[in-house]
């Protein structure tokens, strides 16, 4: 009998096993929903699949009578726009600051303790400050995500830069690299894959901050909608929205991983 650690599932087997927990969750939901609806046909907690399908159709394919918009797409577009702008700004700040901290000791001395302190500020605690200073518009929401994510990316990239072997940096200098060339041609290119990893790991946080900001002050967005319909216990809206957000986040994550493999094949080889 081989050891358990040496037993490998086949490709198809692994796929089937991977689908299994999802099926179990679905079955548990169905059973629970049926049981509750049998007792009380007006139960709102676990709506039936037909109710869910009907609501999804209303939100995803029909124009809202009041605003004239198809709500799911309007919300998705509003949220994704905020998220992508914020992640783009965070990546730019993180890359620039991480590279500087990682490569120039004097600037590291100036910036590293400050960034370390800023990254410890709980972003949600200063959300009121952002709303007071920047108003209730888009700026405050984007700023919240940037404040939450950029310091983490900065520190991660600075750590990565510090991990580069000293031998490599000395070697580059013996090939005639100036500080500038060392930063731009040796350190920066080796930070790109890590930047993508950092973005992937921070996706969850970014969504958290986005939904928090939308829940408090917004007129559209996935987070706004969830918190709006919460008042009516509209689980038939909330559950599909949560599933949709999860799918979007999962898709973004997959896209980033794919981009990393395509753009930086050397980083895959070096693993």
């Amino acid at each position: 009998m081989p050891r358990l650690v040496n037993l490998q599932p086949s490709r198809g087997g692994a796929l089937a096993l991977g689908v299994l927990p999802f099926l179990i969750l679905l079955a548990a939901y169905l059973l629970g929903s049926n049981a509750r609806l049998a007792v009380n046909p007006d139960d709102k907690l676990l709506p039936s699949f037909s109710t869910l399908a009907h609501t999804i159709h209303t939100y995803a394919f029909e124009e809202d009578t009041r605003s004239g918009q198809v709500l799911l797409w309007a919300d998705t577009w509003a949220s994704l726009k905020r998220l992508l702008i914020a992640l783009g700004i965070s990546a730019a700040i993180g890359l620039a600051a991480g590279l500087t901290i990682g490569s120039i000791p004097y600037l590291r001395a100036v910036m590293a303790p400050f960034v370390a302190a800023v990254s410890m500020i709980p972003p949600l605690a200063i959300l009121p400050v952002l709303f007071i200073v920047a108003g209730l518009g888009e700026v405050a929401k984007i700023a919240l995500i940037v404040i939450g994510v950029a310091p983490i990316i900065t520190r991660d990239l600075a750590l990565r830069a510090a991990e580069l072997p000293a031998e490599q940096l000395i070697k580059a200098q013996t090939l005639g690299a100036s500080s500038w060339l060392l930063s731009t041609r040796i350190i920066l290119p080796q930070l790109w894959p890590r930047l993508i990893d950092a973005l992937r790991l921070n996706l969850g946080c970014a969504w958290l901050f986005l939904i928090a900001a939308e829940a408090i002050a917004s007129t559209e967005g996935l987070g706004y909608r969830i918190f709006l319909v919460r008042r009516y216990l509209a689980m038939d809206v909330i559950l599909p929205y949560v599933a949709w957000i999860t799918l979007l986040a999962f898709g973004t994550d997959w896209l980033l991983r794919y981009t990393r493999a395509k753009l930086f094949p050397w980083a895959e080889v070096a693993r």
Partner: protein, 242 residues
């Protein structure tokens, strides 16, 4: 020209004496091999030539001038590991030196300059037997191939001095003969003085034109850090510069 003069050189880290009273005259184009027990200052000596460590007292001169306080393209280095850039292919690794020299802002060459650098790089790749692997990344190469590339990467900058810090220490004994042939070939192709640290006495005798043994002359059992190492044997070897 790259003659190295060492005059009454001491290196201390706090209380610990690493090197004491080192005196040497190394002629241009010498192939100096250095052996000695670990921790006796061989690498420290190399690091001072490289410019990343400073002598505590005494002089370390290249052609009569003090060694610059920073590494530069006149002194190449090959470490035991980590001398290559994992994000660049073999060819790109090799082109790095010419690109840095020819373009201070973007570090890339175009047109005639690029073609000249490519030709030089191609010739070197041929010489070290890596022309078929030019588009591979370092992680896809064997240890021996990586070290050959690292040596060529330094040589393409035409350094006056090439420093080798146990370059073959991590390699299979079986392939060191090939490595030796390549080092000697590159040494013959370029006018440079070579300092090579080795653990392998036989290799040191075979390759060098001069063998230095670093060791401590005096020992204080109560405080082992009190005395540093110096050159205890300085053996000129028969073979002259090729």
């Amino acid at each position: 020209m790259a003659a190295v003069t060492v005059k009454r050189l001491w290196k201390e880290y706090g209380e610990q004496v690493v090197l004491e009273n080192l005196n040497l005259e190394i002629a241009d184009r010498e192939f100096v091999t250095i052996v000695g027990a670990s921790g006796c200052g061989k690498t420290t000596f190399l690091r001072m030539l490289l410019g990343v460590d400073k002598p505590t007292r005494g002089q370390l001169l290249i052609d009569g001038q003090p060694v610059p306080a920073e590494p530069g393209p006149d002194r190449g280095i090959v470490f035991q590991r980590y001398s290559l850039f994992p994000h660049l292919t073999v060819l790109q690794n090799l082109l790095l030196g010419p690109q840095f020299a020819g373009s201070r802002v973007i570090g890339r060459l175009f047109g005639a300059k690029q073609r000249a650098a490519r030709e030089k790089a191609d010739a070197l790749l041929e010489a070290i037997g890596l022309h078929t692997a030019r588009d591979k990344y370092p992680a896809q190469l064997s240890g021996g191939m990586q070290q050959r590339l690292s040596i060529a990467q330094s040589v393409i900058c035409e350094p006056k001095i090439l420093l080798l810090d146990e370059p073959f220490g991590a390699l299979d004994p079986g392939i060191t003969a090939d490595m030796h042939a390549i080092v000697l070939k590159l040494w013959a192709m370029n006018r440079m003085t070579i300092f090579m640290i080795s653990h392998d006495i036989k290799e040191s005798f075979q390759l060098g034109t001069r063998l230095l043994v670093f060791d401590k002359r005096r020992h204080d059992p109560q405080s082992p850090e009190a005395y540093g190492a110096t050159v205890t044997y300085d053996i000129p070897l028969k073979r002259t510069a090729a």
